[in-house]
């Protein structure tokens, strides 16, 4: 199954370069078109406003100086499904995002792809 996300445009927000490139490579490996990766809220919002056609997104919650929630809110308002990658326990995440699927770090790439496919199918 190399085309599990074929043609899907997926925004990647992750501030750690090595993780971002690994993740981007895995997504491209299953046919996705990666938007980004972006390392900050500002970059992610800029990318989104420049090219708003997105099928899904993978968001790291904790970026260097801030949290990814403004990006999550923007995606939500546009109906773009997304998942979180995070080192946080569920209790540390605001309640309003409790329905967002989470992939704990270190990320299991297979699981992340499955999860992303599910949310993008539902959309």
């Amino acid at each position: 199954m190399t085309d599990e996300l074929k043609g899907r445009r997926v925004l990647v927000v992750e501030d750690e370069y090595l993780l971002a490139t690994d993740l981007a490579a895995s997504l491209e490996g299953v046919g996705a078109e990666v938007v980004g990766p972006a390392s900050s809220v500002k970059e992610a919002l800029d990318l989104f406003s420049r090219d708003g056609r997105l099928d899904g997104a993978v968001l790291d919650i904790n970026l260097q100086s801030d949290r990814v929630y403004p990006v999550a809110d923007m995606l939500r308002s546009r109906g773009v499904p997304f998942i979180f990658t995070t080192g946080y326990d569920a209790s540390a995440i605001p309640k309003c995002y409790s329905d967002v699927p989470r992939c704990p770090k270190p990320v299991d790439e297979q699981r992340l792809i499955r999860c992303l496919r599910q949310v993008t199918q539902h959309a």
Binding site: L19, T21, D22, P37, S39, Q64, S65, D66, Y88, K105
Partner: protein, 454 residues
């Protein structure tokens, strides 16, 4: 036969009143009669004292101060003079006398009736002392103290409560004190009294409004019945202790735990990623093993620097020194290496990434560069540049004194880290150059401090 003569009746009464010392004196206080009770109370027989001054029953101190004369004057003026004071027996022992001195109707002298009330007096004294101790304690400890009915109606608020809440004494009585409890906590506060009436102990935590800033401060409130016999119906005494700091600490601890968990998982992710990248650039399992172990140690060094500081910021000099020291064990006091720059603190994420980059540079220098050659020299210098919107630190890594045969062909891990990862995650500007006489690397990093996580 009941005596009908009034005088006889009176005498019988006096003689039988053995608990009362009853005696008469003339106007100067000379004893004229002395009953059996007086003998019991004062220790003198009638024969001994008749014709002598009754003032002898006063203590020497009171006599010196003229208490007997004063008492007679008051009795003459007011018709009676209460006499509540220590008296002295024949044997010198003292007792608390409670009595009264009255002028005789004839005007010829006085009648005095006295009882030994030492026990009652001492019990009263003990009670008063105990009350004073309670009051002292209740009004001087930092806790807010109160007396209450078992339904939560207060009967006494301590001055600390009044000062803390700004409610007056009367405003704190009955159920009124709830005014100072946070509206959301009032139900819990009252509900706890139901439990208390079953268990005999009141306990709750609630917010109390502080005067004058009206801020709500968490308090722990406990109360127990004053009556230790097991009856819960009487007054209860309670204390309210400020636990705001403690609760703050607890929630801070929870935040720290979440943060620690996040950092640990993130670190594992970095390790996972370093493993992947190393695997990609390794020719053999053996070279993977060596390089991966060496990179793990570099990550470990940055972590131990981070562990030493509370605010998760690392000094650049410490970072550089730790990395170089790890690569020059054979040559610790090396004149080959010069490190120079002003104090700069780096946030944790920047320290981690920069630490890995320095590690790659140092490893390379030791294998092929300045640290591998007797003529080789290495300079690591940095400066802080005041740029808008955030200052930048510019670090220069210069190796000289060697001749590089050929720059590495393959785009290795270190190179990708410096040329790609640092710009990506630190917004750094980097330049890596393999000059003829050694490696040069420039890294310019914005050093806006991370805002503290809330």
């Amino acid at each position: 036969m009941v005596p009908t003569n009034k005088e006889e009746l009176f005498e019988l009464l006096i003689e039988s009143s053995t608990d009362f010392g009853i005696f008469t004196t003339d106007l100067q206080g000379i004893v004229t009669s002395w009953n059996v009770g007086a003998e019991r109370v004062f220790g003198y027989s009638e024969a001994e004292i008749a014709g002598h001054s009754a003032d002898i029953v006063f203590t020497p101190e009171d006599r010196a101060e003229g208490a007997p004369e004063d008492e007679r004057a008051r009795a003459r003026r007011d018709g009676r003079a209460a006499d509540e004071r220590w008296h002295q027996r024949k044997d010198g022992s003292q007792f608390w006398a409670s009595g009264v001195l009255m002028p005789l109707k004839s005007g010829a002298g006085f009648l005095k009736i006295t009882r030994d009330r030492t026990e009652q007096h001492q019990a009263g004294e003990r009670l008063r002392e105990s009350e004073e101790r309670f009051h002292l304690l209740a009004t001087s400890i930092p806790q807010l103290v109160f007396l209450t009915r078992p339904n939560g109606d207060r009967t006494w608020p301590s001055p600390q409560w009044i000062a803390f809440t700004g409610l007056s004494f009367d405003q704190s009585l009955g159920p009124n004190w709830l005014e100072a409890i946070h509206p959301d906590d009032r139900e819990v506060t009252q509900k706890a009294w139901e439990d208390a009436r079953k268990t005999g102990e009141y306990y709750t935590e609630h917010r109390v409004r502080r005067h004058p800033d009206r801020a709500y401060v968490w308090h722990q409130t406990r109360a127990k019945p004053v009556d230790r016999s097991g009856s819960l119906a009487g007054d209860w005494v309670g204390t309210m202790t400020d636990i705001d700091g403690l609760r703050g600490l607890q929630s801070r601890q929870q935040i720290l735990m979440a943060e620690l968990q996040h950092r640990t998982r993130n670190l594992l992710s970095v390790v996972q990623s370093v493993a992947n990248q190393t695997l990609r650039s390794s020719e053999s399992l053996q070279s993977f093993k060596t390089q991966f172990a060496s990179r793990l140690r570099a990550i470990g060094r940055v972590q131990s620097l981070l562990a030493q500081v509370e605010d998760q910021a690392v000094d650049l000099r410490d970072l550089v020194t730790a990395e170089l020291a790890a690569h020059s064990e054979s040559d610790p006091a090396s004149s080959k290496v010069q490190v120079d720059g002003p104090p700069v603190t780096l946030p944790a994420t920047a320290a981690q990434a920069l630490g890995l980059a320095l590690h790659e540079l140092a490893t390379n220098a030791l294998k092929y560069g300045a640290l591998s050659h007797p003529e080789g020299k290495l300079e690591v210098r940095w400066e802080v540049m005041q740029k808008h919107p955030t200052p930048e630190v510019g670090l220069k890594w210069s190796e000289t004194g060697i001749s590089l045969t050929a720059p590495p062909k393959r785009k290795g891990y270190g190179r990708e880290l410096i040329e790609r990862a640092l710009p990506y995650q630190l917004k750094a500007k980097t330049k890596l150059e393999f000059a003829a006489d050694g490696v040069r690397c420039e890294i310019v990093v914005p050093i806006a401090m991370e805002p503290a996580h809330d």
